[in-house]
């Protein structure tokens, strides 16, 4: 039981990191970024390409890919997404959906859909004794690392001036603007930051999941559910919901096999009925 719950937390780390990025972007830009899972895939694929073409290790890729894709995300925001923000949110949804297809197919043309090889990073091949049970070292690393990243992101947003501005512009952009803060300046970096988180979880996934152009395609729907359950745009909520749902799925797989993923959507329906703004979301007084 404990082992399964722990295992669920490991899977939850991916959801948490992805949902966190998605929530930050949604909060700041009001954009539902459908391409989020494509960036997760690009992160994993990038790590694979770095390793196979240039011999760059996992540890370097863990640093380089989020940086590269984060910058790419910023450029994307400047060039494309910004132009559509003023319109119906559906336009950006379609744009990012289109981008997803383009990324997937470009990689598919070059590499095919067959999953690519990515070895365990050196130094994490063994197991860790956790007292009650032993667990693969790499999985433990993924969990610890993503908890740290989530904490870091939270500290950044809650304790620093930049975070304060971002939070303020997320919640009340007009008033923030009225206080003399240039909200627009922060949009690109925030988008890039969200993308970097997706890339980071992609790199983390490479050694334990099949690296293929389609690896994100199935995940995105689940991550959307996580964000909705956590409360759209709520930073703490998305992380918490990520871990909760990872655990729910793992336990569901053991005790209610066949229903595990459905369980997530049942939870989503219940949460929407009971708390339409999500578990940790705040209801808007007036919009």
């Amino acid at each position: 039981m404990l082992q399964h719950a722990f295992n669920g937390l490991v899977n939850g780390s991916f959801y948490a990191l992805l949902a966190l990025g998605l929530a930050v972007i949604f909060g700041m830009l009001g954009v539902v970024n459908f391409a989020h899972a494509a960036f997760y895939m690009l992160g994993a694929f990038g790590a694979f390409i770095l390793l196979s073409e240039f011999g760059v290790s996992f540890w370097v890729a863990l640093l380089v890919m989020p940086l590269l894709l984060g910058l790419f995300g910023m450029a994307l925001e400047r060039l494309l997404i910004r132009r559509l923000v003023a319109l119906d949110p559906l336009y950006n949804f379609l744009l990012t959906f289109g981008l997803t297809l383009i990324f997937q197919d470009l990689l598919r043309m070059k590499y095919g859909v067959q999953p690519q090889q990515y070895p365990q990073p050196s130094g994490l091949g063994g197991s860790v004794d956790l007292g009650l049970f032993t667990f693969p070292a790499y999985q433990v690393f993924v969990l610890v690392f993503s908890v740290l990243v989530s904490l870091g992101a939270w500290l950044l947003l809650a304790r620093t001036r930049i975070g304060m501005i971002v939070r303020a512009s997320t919640e009340r952009p007009d008033i923030t603007r009225a206080l003399g803060i240039d909200v627009g300046r922060w949009i690109s970096p925030v988008f890039g930051f969200g993308i970097a988180l997706a890339a980071l979880s992609g790199v983390l996934a490479a050694p334990m999941r099949a690296v293929s152009p389609l690896m994100g395609a199935d995940l995105i729907i689940l991550v959307f559910a996580v964000v909705v359950i956590g409360g759209l745009g709520s930073i703490f909520g998305s992380v918490a919901a990520g871990f909760i749902i990872g655990m729910l799925q793992a336990l569901g797989n053991v005790y209610l096999p066949g229903l595990a993923t459905t369980l997530v959507f049942i939870l989503m329906a219940v949460v929407l009925l009971w708390r339409p703004a999500g578990l940790f979301g705040r209801e808007e007084a007036s919009v």
Partner: protein, 418 residues
């Protein structure tokens, strides 16, 4: 989501209908001694871009084209028709799309035969169309035994392998080698359920025991199998039997290795594996794993020769589905040649009971009773990396399973040919 095949598909349809309009003549197939529409049209219907695109897909089409070229070269001016056309469609592994595409191929593109068709549910849909239109269908990369069982019909043939062959080979061999207690995980849809049943039966017949059967949802959206894997050691099985295919198999094996189940005394056995899967995982991740293969490119000189030609065309080594596509195309064209017509009933008569020996079919025979194509199968073992001498050189053939033992005997078949 996969629409990029729309344009080629539409253009193919356009060109074909244009040609048909200009050519005029060509009535429906019938009457001996003639080729309908003055051409033989081969339809290849498979997954062009999805999870099964690598194991047959676009390269499967190339294999069919290779067979057409070789057929023309072989017969020269004596060929029953020099006008042989290959048309392609993507069924995206969905039975409803396979159904419409098959209709379109038979009716509008005047296909005389449909080849390949992976994904069991899609293959069954095409078999139904073949029966209704009285046109041929040779399935190569689909797995279900239903094609030659309860859903069999006069115009449908099943060429390379099926779930019985896999289970009978792997389940029996691994159990007899001492792994008596099995823990089976399978994807919860037609193919996986069929595999699980076939395996359980083979294991029990061989004196083994299935301790637990765990379904996993299909498709597995999170790519995670750790819950099922973590539960395995508790029941103390000798071997974990996985019935997953393609990318799911790759995910599962990665996680099997990370949880070090092998060190906990749980071996690994794989129900269906294509050489492309081994290529993805790296042979070390699977070293020592035994599985049943329908054909292996590096088995002997004859196979190798064809594999070399295939590599020239495609840049990679063939899976057994690629080789099967070539062989089935050749078998069909030879039957048309012998019959002197592409009229379905005459061709079927020519195929039924025929014994074939080529690089793909060893001791091959097309059973007239249920249209199962039987041939030698192989129990293979994945080599450790240290023994791999070149790309795709991953398998060691342990034993050859003779044709009459490899497939379900006719006496057990539920097929009632209408």
């Amino acid at each position: 989501m996969r629409r990029r095949n729309l344009i080629p598909a539409i253009s193919t349809v356009a060109v074909v209908s244009l040609v048909a309009a200009c050519g005029g003549a060509g009535g429906p197939s019938g009457g001996g001694g003639k080729i309908s529409d003055d051409k033989i049209v081969l339809g290849v219907l498979n997954d062009q871009t999805g999870i099964y695109a690598e194991l047959s897909g676009p390269n499967g089409v190339k294999a069919v084209e290779m067979a057409v070229e070789d057929f023309k070269a072989k017969h020269g001016d004596d060929a029953v028709s020099k006008n042989i056309e290959v048309v392609v469609a993507d069924h995206q592994n969905k039975p409803e799309i396979a159904n419409t595409k098959a209709q379109e191929m038979y009716d509008r593109q005047k296909a005389d035969i449909i080849l390949d068709v992976p994904t069991s549910s899609a293959a069954l849909a095409v078999a139904t169309q073949a029966k209704a239109k009285k046109k041929l269908f040779i399935d190569i990369s689909g797995a279900t035994t239903a094609l030659t069982g309860e859903s069999c019909n006069k115009y449908t043939f099943h060429y390379a392998y099926d779930t019985y062959m896999l289970a009978n080979g792997t389940g029996t061999a691994v159990t007899q080698a001492g792994a008596k207690n099995w823990y089976i995980v399978y994807p919860d849809y037609a193919f996986g359920q069929d595999m699980e049943k076939s395996f359980s039966k083979a294991i029990e017949t061989a004196g083994g025991k299935v301790l637990a059967k765990k379904p996993t949802e299909f498709p597995n959206t999170s790519g995670d199998f750790s819950s099922q894997l973590l539960q395995a050691p508790a029941s103390n099985p000798d071997v974990l039997g996985t019935m997953h295919a393609g990318g799911e198999l790759v995910n599962l094996v990665k996680q099997y290795n990370q949880f070090k189940l092998k060190d906990k005394g749980v071996g690994l056995s794989v129900g269906l594996m294509f050489i492309t899967d081994i290529h993805s995982l790296g042979s070390d991740a699977l070293a020592g794993t035994r599985f049943t293969d329908a054909w292996y490119w590096n088995f002997d000189e004859q196979n190798r020769q064809w594999a070399d030609k295939f590599k020239e065309k495609t840049g990679s080594r063939p899976s057994f589905a690629h080789a099967g596509n070539y062989s089935a195309t050749m078998a069909y064209l030879d039957a048309v040649q012998a019959a002197g017509t592409d009229a379905s009933d005459d061709v079927v008569k020519n195929l039924e009971g025929k014994e074939i020996n080529d690089f793909f079919l060893r001791n091959g025979k097309i059973r007239a009773e249920d249209h199962r194509v039987i041939h030698d199968a192989y129990l293979a073992e994945v080599k450790p990396k240290s023994e791999v001498k070149e790309d795709y050189d991953y398998e060691k053939i342990v034993t050859t399973i003779p044709a009459d033992k490899a497939f379900k005997p006719v006496s057990e078949s539920t097929c009632k040919m209408g």
